[in-house]
Structures are given as C-alpha cells and as structure tokens.
Amino acid sequence: MSDVVLDADSGTPLRETRAARGERLRLLLRSPTVLIGTLVLAFWVFCAIFPGVAPYNPIFDNQFPTSAPPEWGHPFGTDTNGRDIFSRVLAGSRSILVIAPAATLLATVLGTALGLLTGYFRGIVDDGVSRLVDAVLSLPLIVAAILIVTAVGSTDQWVVILTIGLVFAPVISRTIRAAVLAETELEYVEAARLRGERSLYIMFSEILPNVFPLVVVEFTVRLGYAIFTVATLTFIGFGVQPPSPDWAAQINQYWTLIDPYWWMTLFPALAIASLVIAANLVSDGVREVYER
C-alpha cells in the first residue's frame, strides 16, 4: 500500500536519498533485537582487539588449583591445566572473529561474482555453473566442508577460511543470480549494450550496484552460519589448536570430561551460542530493513 504515497509524490522531485539512508540506519537501531545483537557483537569484538581485558593470562599453565568449579574468584571455574576459564573465554573470541568474517567475505565475493556471471550470461555458462552449484548444495554444507578439510589434511586457518568460502559461495550465488536475472530484464542494461559496453562492465558497474543491498544481506545472514561452521571444524580438530583459548578448541579439549567438569565445556559453548545468536539478530534486522 505504500506505493500509493509514492504515486502521489511522483509529480515532484523526491527528497534526498541521504535522508533515506539515515532513515534506514535509524530503523535498524530502533529495533531492540538488533540493538542487543549489535551490543553482544561489539563486546566480543572489543575482547578480541584488547585481550588485556582478561583478568589472568589465558595460556600459562598452573596459575591456579586445577579443575576448580565456579566460585567468586573464578566465576567460570578453572581447567585441568589450572587456567582461569573466564579469562580464556574472554580471550577466545579472537580467532573465530577473524576466521568467520574472512571466510564469509570470501564466500560473498565469490558467490556474487558467480551469481553475476550466471545471471547475466545465462545459456551454457549458467547451465554449467548451476549444475556444479546444485552438486555442492546436495551435500549438507558442514559435511562438504569436513570432506574438503579432511582431504587437504592441513589444520592451517587458511584452509578453514578457503574451505568455508568455497562451500558457502554457491548458496550466495543462487540468491544473487535470481536478482541479476530480474535486473537484466530492465532497459538500462539494454541501453548499456547499445552503447557498446563490455559484459564485464555491465555486470560490475551497471548491475552490481543495484543488487548490492542483497549482497549485504547475504553477508550478514551467512556470517552466523560461518561462525557455527568454523566452531564445528575447530571442534573436530581443524583450524586453531590448543593451547589457544579458542572456544571450540576448549570444548574439543574438555568435552570428554563433561561429567563432572561441566563448566570447562559449558562456558565456551555459551560464548559460541551468544555470538551466533547475535549475528543472526543483526542479520534479521538488516534483511528486514533492506527488503522493506
């Protein structure tokens, strides 16, 4: 129904788009869920940048009595190596906050490029690439990721980033492709062709800016999944290794001791959950505002 207002307005020059952008940001932050998500994310980013917030050293062994349950001095307890788990949780956000966004960024860039190519050229390019995409999507993403990481056999972080980037790109490319298909129907694309523009120019300079909001939405949506996937891979032993205080690495190290040392697993697990949920809260908000 809102187009009625636009219609009534079409006779006059419209207001600045900057105002619209400001409005979008305001809408975004007005939603309480987005605000909470943003605060949680900001907290973890802060911890990652300033590891000094941890009250004790997260790495050195035997600073405290080993395997002590939570109490005032150590609210999350201590682990079997005599380290303060609270300090380790605060210090543990760093690697996941580097790996997950880097992987998502890679996936978004790849996926957007693929989506532009398949949506713009259609025909053989589209058929070929789309079958490949289908093949990747036929496996659960996490299984595909584990397969690749295992096949490579390295535990380097770069392998994790590349793997997640590759595995997530097809999903993103699908969404982008659909939007590109709709864009190529519009006459501005035809006008560009008729002035002799190259395909690459049309894809990246004419069409990409118009699908960019969707790219942003995709990035935020995939970030939540990526965090989860990174944690999973780390948990099964790829990526960051102990004694790093990384949350998933901690869980990996202690989950077999969950009874009776539940605190060694619970607190890092809660930290991962808080990060995934925060990312999803923000992405929901972003999607709502962009797709309004």
Binding site: V5, A191, R193, E197, P209
Partner: protein, 669 residues
C-alpha cells in the same frame, strides 16, 4: 437509505497522509455529488489526488492515510460513521471498484469462475446459484463463450477480457456506486473503446452511478455527464463535461486541454503548449490559489488569497479569481523552428528489406514480423502504430540489433548493418539509439545523471576528461537539465526529468536515427507536451530521424512525417501522416482511428472491431485482418493475401478494396 439521496455526496473532504511523522494534506476540502444513475469524471495529472479520493470513498486508505475532515455519504449513508461490520457490508453490497490493471485485480491462481462466484457467495448465494449467476454475469459483459471463460485462469485471457471479468464482478452486487480508476489505461485503443461502450451500456441498464477517474480527457468526455478537475488535492473546476471542455474557466483546465496534441495538429504547425513548473510537493502549505505557481495569469492576490469556488455558468464553477480571462491564458510558445526538409530522392538513412522475425514458443513458430520493408530518410519521423502484439517493438529491436531477424536485412546509409549489436561498429551503434518507454527502468537507479551522461559520451562520442565535461554541460543544457539535476540520481527526479536524461543519453553520440518506443506514454500530458517539443527541437537542430512508436494516435500524428501501420507483424499501410490519417485509409487504420475517444466529441461513428487480435502463431488465411475487418468484401479476403501496393504517390496499402472504393465508402461514414 432515502430514495432521493444522491448516489455519492462528498463534502469538504480533507485527507492526509502521514509521511515521516508529519501529516500531509492530500485532499483539500473536496466537494462533489453524483446523482443516481449518472456518471462523474475526475481528471487531473498524477499526484493530484484522484485515486486517493477514490480510496477514501471506499475507505481503503493505506495505513498512513486518514480522513481528517468532511463527510462522505453513499446512497444517503454516512460512510465515515461505519463500524467494521457495517464497512464489510458496505464493501460487499454498496460500492464496487475497478482498477487500472485487471491482471493484478484478479487472483492468478484461481479460475475465473471461482473468483466471480465468490462475489455472489459473499452476498449469500448458494454454490449452485452462484455458478449460474456467474455465467449470467459474463453474458452481461458480452463475453460470448462464458462456459469456457469460467474454466480458465486469468493469464489465459486477454487484457480486455480480464477487464470485462473484473467489471462483471464489480457489478455482481448491483452497486449503488461503481468507481472506475483508469480502467482502460493499459488497454489498446480498440479494446478501450469496447470496454467503454460496455460500461456505458451497463450503466444505462443498471442505473448505477459511476465515478470515473482518468487522466484522459477524451475518455472522460465520452463517458461522463459532469467532470471535476483536481489539482493538488483541490477541485479547481467543475461542471458539465461538454461545457468544461468547450469553455474551460480555470487556467489549469485550459492548460491541460492545450497540451494535448489533437485536431490534426502537426509539428510543422507549431509547438505544443506546456504547463511550466511542478505540482506542489505533497501536503505543501499553500496560502493562495493552489495553481498560482504555474499560472500565467496569477497576480499578487492569487498568491495570498485562495479564490472561492465561483459559479460561472449553469452548474459550472471555477476556483479562480480570473475565471473570465482563463481562456486568454498566454500561450507558452517556444520559438518557431525550421524543421528539416526531407529529401526522399536521396539514399534513405535506414532501409529495411523484407524483415521477418519468427520466435519459437514451445516448439511453435510465432511470426512477429513478416516481410516488412520500409525506409527512413534523414530528418524525418516515421510513426509506427498498431495494437499490442502487432510487432512494433520487435521491428524496433531488430533494427537496433537486439533481436536477430529470421530473414531480411537492415541498411544504414546504404551499407548493410550486422545483424547483432555486438558485431556493429561504434559508428553504427552511435548512429542508432533508443529512448525507452519507462524512464524508471531505462536509467540505472544507482548512477547519478552526471555519470550516466559522461559514460554515454565516452562510449558513443569517444570523448573523455575535460572535453566530456564540456560536452555534458552542452548536452544537459540542450535537454534543459539544470546543474542540480546532474548530481542527482534518477529516483530523485520526476518522470519528465528522467525522460530528458534518457533523451540526452541517446543524443550523446550525435545519433542519426533514434527509436522512440512510447517515450511519453508513462508521462502526464503536460510533461508529454514538453518532451514532444524537445524531440521536435532536437530534430530541427540535428536533422535526426525518429522511428516513433506510440499507441496514442494524436501524438503520432503530431510528430510524424510518415506513418506505418502494422497488424500481426505485417505492414498494412504506409504513407504520409496526413494521408494516412485523413484517408482514404486501410480499414484497419480506419478502425484504429475511430476507436480513439476525442475531446472535440462528435465526429464519425465508431467502427467496431470484433473480437481480439488473432494469435500470431496461427494467423488467419488470406488477408490477416479479414477476421475483424468491417469492410471485408468476400472470399478473396480469406483466400489471398493482398500485396502492399502504392495506391497513390507515396501511399502504400495492403487491401483488396480499390482506393477509389475506399474513398467512397469512408466518405459516407
């Protein structure tokens, strides 16, 4: 319900939209009445509040809209006092609305029969009864084969049929008031004429009052007894249709009437009048007359004091201090131009030889163009007319190289053009450009006007850097874009400004031929006039040729030197504009012309075209027009396709009837 109450009485209606927390006045004290069984037209350009008024009357306002004052009563009932249950009742029984786009008014996933039956079951009919009455309803809107239509989905029907179905549903309840909001705007002239005839006839039968909303004064003049002219939410003039159109007493009405190309006016007769300036922004505070900013008669008093609605004739009122001088409104005439002399002895600029395009659709051959040959000379305009599906756009796209022809060639300056645009040289691309119908989708909404123009200059004219900047300023000046516009993005511009940008883009490389594909049909008439003037100016200046596609015959006549008439992909008639319009003309052209409702009224009786355009996949035998031709002579029309022959100098026609016979027949009509 009292028996003598008018069907609709709107008094002092105030309506606001809340945008970014501020109430903006959309209707400013609108008052009018429709008597039972009468029809009332509401005209004005987009943004004047016509549709908003209708939405207010049926109380279907968007969430941010609110009626802030005044009263509406339908058949004596106060509409504003209705509670939610009564409102449902009101929608179900008393008032009906028909929208512009029948395609979106019907549910695409339900069969037509189910949807019509719904209109009856709401009123309490049983299922069997509803299905019987649906059938009757379709018969009432002159659908010949109701049984088969009921079983079909909306997308399987043509636009005209869809609109009939919508009208059948609207009339299911015998409404006291039927609101038609631009019901024929998306339809071809021939279909429009049929739908309008149908509405007139049903209205007489059912004694329903009609509120007819349209931007088209011709349609209003044909359909309505009284008319109200809306401007910026104010009713500025009101009265009997013929009187308002003959003797308009408000400068806005005068302006609207003057900017429509009609009565055979042509570009070499003079420029079209335009209405300068813009509609005030939504809900602006206006102290004096709403129209003062754009009115050539406005003086100090107009800007300070709002004129009252003054009676200027029998039931004719105008809201203008100078209503007695309205007709002397100074004309906004532009300088006279010297139009290029067209020399048709020299080599044509562009030539089409036997152009044929056959599309493949589900393994079926669908010929969209069949053996079309034509030529365009430098500096002239070739108008291309025909109903939708006649192949106009395919012809243009083939010439531009977007669509590859199945057979035939296109030449430019005597040299054969590569079939696809990818294979064409920069010279050839530069020479052939296009202005699209919809400037919203034709301009990249993320690019600034400056970027759009600079890029075109770079690619088409091959200039960059400081040169390009200077050329862009020149280009922008020529299409009258201001400095401020250059930094803006298309969404920030009005439709007319956007179309100017699109024209500037096409002219960046000094083209020789510009295809104009319905360039003004998305625009208001005053803006249309300005754009047509601009195109003519550019033609005078640059000797550019146009291939001008339009369904608006008045516009085509104004701008064209010669006209080509297409039907089912075949050229039916080709000749100088005056000859094609004044006749004798091809029976199809004759029917097209007579379908257009004119403001001047009177004139010829309409020639009815039976049925829809046949499917291009299985065109009729012989002359493809014989199935609908009102002048069909006999078996020969069904058996032999007439050749395209030169019946008079420069006048080509494809008809079995000899020209002298046509002349005689058409003189009688």
């Amino acid at each position: 319900m009292s028996a003598d109450a008018p069907a609709l009485a709107v008094s002092d209606l105030e309506l606001v939209y809340r945008v970014r927390g501020v109430d903006r006045r959309v209707l400013r004290g609108v008052t009018f009445e429709i008597e039972r069984g009468r029809s009332y037209g509401l005209v004005g350009e987009s943004g004047c509040g016509k549709s908003t008024a209708a939405l207010g009357i049926v109380r279907f306002l968007p969430r941010n809209g609110r009626i802030s004052g005044g009263a509406i009563s339908v058949a004596g009932r106060d509409v504003l006092a209705l509670g939610s249950r009564e409102l449902r009742e009101y929608h179900a029984r008393t008032v009906s609305m028909v929208y512009q786009n029948p395609g979106s008014a019907l549910n695409p996933s339900l069969k037509v029969g189910t949807q019509i039956a719904e209109a009856f079951t709401v009123l309490g009919a049983s299922r069997d009864e509803a299905s019987d009455r649906s059938r009757e309803a379709l018969v009432r809107v002159q659908i010949a084969d109701p049984g088969s239509v009921l079983g079909r989905y909306p997308h399987q029907l043509s636009g005209g049929m869809q609109q009939r179905v919508v009208i059948a549903m609207a009339l299911a309840k015998d409404p006291a008031l039927l609101i038609l909001d631009e019901p024929t705007t998306g339809l071809d002239a021939t279909v429009e004429a049929e739908v309008l005839d149908l509405v007139t006839q049903l209205q007489a039968e059912l004694d329903t009052a009609v509120l007819f909303i349209s931007h088209n004064l011709g349609v209003i003049s044909k359909m309505c007894g009284r008319v109200g002219v809306l401007y910026a939410g104010r009713l500025v003039e009101e009265g009997p249709v013929d009187e308002v159109l003959r003797d308009p007493r408000h400068p806005y009405t005068v302006g609207l009437l003057r900017c429509i190309p009609r009565g055979g006016v042509r570009k070499d007769h003079g420029r079209l009048d335009t209405i300068p300036g813009f509609l005030p922004s939504l809900g602006a505070d206006i102290a004096g007359c709403v129209y003062a900013d754009r009115c050539a008669l406005a003086d100090e008093r107009c800007r300070v004091d709002e004129p009252p609605l003054e009676t200027v004739g029998a039931r004719h009122a105008s809201r203008c201090w100078h209503h007695d001088r309205a007709r002397d409104l100074p004309r906004a005439e532009a300088a006279d131009l010297e139009l290029p002399k067209v020399d048709r002895v020299s080599t044509p600029l562009a030539e089409l030889h036997g152009l044929t395009k056959v599309f493949q659709q589900r393994g079926q051959d669908v010929p969209a163009l069949v053996d079309v040959s034509a030529a365009i000379w430098p500096g002239e305009t070739l108008g291309l007319v025909g109903e939708s599906g006649s192949g106009k756009t395919t012809l243009a796209r083939t010439l531009l190289g977007i669509v590859a022809p199945t057979a035939g060639t296109a030449h430019l300056d005597g040299r054969e053009l590569p079939v696809r645009y990818q294979k064409r040289s920069r010279e050839e691309l530069r020479a052939l450009q296009i202005v699209f119908q919809n400037p919203d989708s034709a301009l990249n909404r993320r690019h600034s006007v400056r970027r759009i123009l600079l890029r075109s200059l770079r690619k088409l004219a091959g200039v960059g850097g400081a040169d390009a900047e200077a050329r862009m300023q020149d280009l922008a000046g020529r299409v009258r874009l201001t400095e401020r516009t250059l930094t803006q993005k298309p969404v920030q511009l009005s439709g007319g400004l956007k179309q100017r940008v699109a024209i500037a883009r096409a002219f960046a490389g000094e083209p020789k031929l510009v295809v104009c594909d319905e360039p003004t049909s998305a625009l208001d008439v005053s803006v249309q006039a300005a754009i047509l003037n601009l195109l003519v100016e550019l033609q005078a200046e640059k000797r550019v040729a146009y291939l001008f596609i339009s369904h608006d015959l008045g516009v085509v006549r104004y701008i064209s030197d010669r006209i080509a008439v297409l039907y089912l992909g075949r050229l039916q008639e080709l000749g100088p504009a005056d000859v094609v319009f004044d006749g004798p003309h091809h029976p199809y052209t004759e029917a097209l012309l007579s379908a257009v409702p004119t403001i001047d009224g009177g004139g010829r009786d309409r020639i009815k075209l039976e049925g829809d355009v046949p499917s291009a996949a299985s065109p009729p035998s012989g002359c493809v027009f014989h199935t609908r031709c009102p002048r069909k002579v006999g078996a020969i029309c069904e058996e032999q396709e007439p050749p395209l022959v030169e019946v008079e100098p420069e006048h080509h026609m494809r008809c079995h009837i000899p020209i002298e016979e046509l002349r005689r027949l058409q003189a009688i009509a």
